[in-house]
Symmetry: C2
Subunit: 377 residues, 2 copies
């Protein structure tokens, strides 16, 4: 089995992530922050350490500015709905995932206006288009860091600069980059949403949000926080304000272990390996005349969408899985406008997304499989 | 170590829950519902099976009416904020957890009025007080099934009857009962919120919400659902409408395994064991003159809050943990009004909450420890 669906969720995780999760569940599976006993304290400490190591990864000074959520979608909804109020205007791009676009579309009813800046048909953004669309009531710019469809990388620090110059907030969706690409929030990122279960190598059921100091984001949920139990109103301190209810302690601590693996391995080594595989894959794909490769000509996150002539992407993906044991994702990848942008809204694409645990041999086998599909099916 | 903090989270879980979670993570840790390959399909099937077994537990006809969430707080926020609109009135009780009270207090700003019906100082509700407070604009009644502070059990089917007679919705918070007490939604429960990690014996990072057919609950989040990827608007079909973003597949499938354990063991056997331990514990506690026991005189969920004379509850809980290895939770338990109701808002209580894996010997050892604290500390 060759798993090339890492943009959906990374698989496998490092062995130590599994071990840690099992350890938390079996040895100190208590409710962190709710009681004072040793097991609860140990779980609470584990969560704090995860907060610390993630804060460090993104150059966040205070770990309390890292909020844990259910997944990146949960984080994005909090960032978007917690900031935007009636009459606000927001700018985003045509390469966004539905986790950004659908909340924004839902806000139309609240008189919140969205401008969607088109990228070119390689999925690349011209930042002048962002600048040109800023107006008096623009409150925020939201962009992905890398497209989940074509891997095109957004110039986040250039956008941050524009945002700062114009007094506008900047929120980044790091769903496809956190854990592989350098992200330094000090360079002008106000809000950063990330999943735990993709390149940060944690388990599903985890995600997070960095919130810059002093930003007043309205919480979307209230509930027990284990703090200020005497009060009927939600505490405003971080992270409690945004973390109501029992946290996913084994998941969060497992996520911390994933990030620890990344740090010890070296993010640059992970990136180098993934980039090398991606380049090798594209080089070989280019030799096959029936294959159409989408996305930027240079530099991309390890996401490679293709089609074989005009064949149905679901059919190709199905054959890859059933005949060759190769896991990919066909169709529209929850990003309809990205597919309109690159011209694949009707056909979809077969998306190959690579991860740190993929090998050269797997890429070669995949190339062979694609050739064989062209010849035999 | 004696773990008596099961009302916060059950610990340990059945061995098979750990094994299942590990199995999902290591063998088919893909993203369910996002791709068509075998691993994703297997994860998707696992989630569906969890939905089925939980639906069956609560006598829900269609598994698609079970929504998976991050925790019970997440579920309660969805039920509360998805139903209540400006001008609505809602009735709840003084025994509620902050996961109900804090969302309701936050809704005051939106002109949503809450009536909090007082229970007596044993934590017991007189349902006439619910009836008396229903008015023209009452939209919903929300009650816990059992108090997390004193274990008093609400007459949910009697309340459901009143709700139905008055054309009002009824939402139940089953945080302390799901998995131990019979819950039959057909008897008039419109919305049922439950945690996965308490008596359902699943892992943290899981919770759920039953939504009666035809109820239009506004979603709090939008995002990718793996379905209708071509659309910029949230799909309205269940469960997709409320399950945006990557689900916690290992957690949910582990939760399904917990419920499977419950079914095989027999919920009535679990309840009998917990009730027996609770009665034994209370009988022994009553023999200690320094101990004050709070809560109903008869019938309660296995939650026993006490104080030793007027000693600080945190101090007693600390000694129980540090000297005797007994895990309890002191203080206010995220339920300030419940403590006002029973008269312990200042002192708090030491809460002992029992689970299926507790034994008679553990209860006896706990009684000895309490006696020894009275004599020695």
């Amino acid at each position: 089995m060759i798993y090339l669906d890492n943009a959906a969720t990374s698989f496998p995780k490092p062995e130590r992530v599994y071990n840690t999760i099992l350890q938390v569940m079996t040895k100190y599976g208590a409710n962190p922050g709710r009681s004072g006993h040793k097991l609860a304290m140990k779980a609470g400490r584990g969560i704090y350490e995860a907060r610390e190591i993630i804060a460090d990864l993104f150059k966040v000074k205070d770990p309390m500015n890292i909020i844990f959520t259910h997944n990146a979608t949960d984080s994005l909804n909090l960032g978007i709905k917690g900031i935007l109020k009636e009459g606000d205007h927001v700018i985003t791009t045509s390469m966004e995932h539905n986790s950004v676009l659908r909340p924004l579309m839902a806000l139309k009813d609240k008189n919140i206006e969205t401008t969607i800046v088109n990228c070119d048909n390689y999925g690349v953004l011209d930042i002048e288009n962002i600048k040109d669309n800023i107006k008096r009531n623009t409150k925020m710019i939201i962009t992905t860091h890398a497209s989940n469809v074509v891997g095109s990388i957004m110039p986040i620090y250039d956008i941050a600069k524009i945002a700062k110059e114009c007094g506008v907030l900047y929120m980044v969706d790091a769903a496809q980059t956190a854990g592989v690409y350098d992200i330094d929030v000090r360079k002008g990122i106000d809000i950063l949403a990330f999943p735990g279960h993709k390149s940060l190598l944690g388990p599903q059921g985890t995600g997070g949000l960095y919130i810059r100091d002093g930003l007043d984001i309205t919480q979307l949920k209230e509930g027990g926080t284990g703090s200020k139990s005497n009060e009927l109103y939600q505490p405003i301190m971080l992270p409690d304000r945004y973390e109501s209810g029992t946290p996913n302690a084994p998941g969060i601590i497992g996520l911390g272990e994933g990030v620890s693996f990344i740090k010890e391995t070296g993010m640059e080594n992970i990136r180098r390996h993934e980039t090398e595989l991606t380049e090798h894959f594209i080089t070989e794909l280019k030799k096959i005349k029936e294959v159409i490769i989408y996305g930027p000509k240079e530099h991309r996150a390890p996401v490679i969408p293709i089609n074989i002539d005009n064949r149905d992407s679901s059919e190709v993906s199905f054959i890859l899985d059933s005949m060759y044991g190769i896991c990919t994702r066909p169709g529209l990848h929850c990003a309809p406008l990205a597919h309109k942008t690159i011209g694949t809204f009707e056909q979809g694409v077969v998306r190959f997304s690579l991860g740190f645990f993929n090998t050269h041999k797997e890429i070669d086998d995949t190339i062979k499989a694609i050739k064989s599909i062209i010849n035999e099916f």
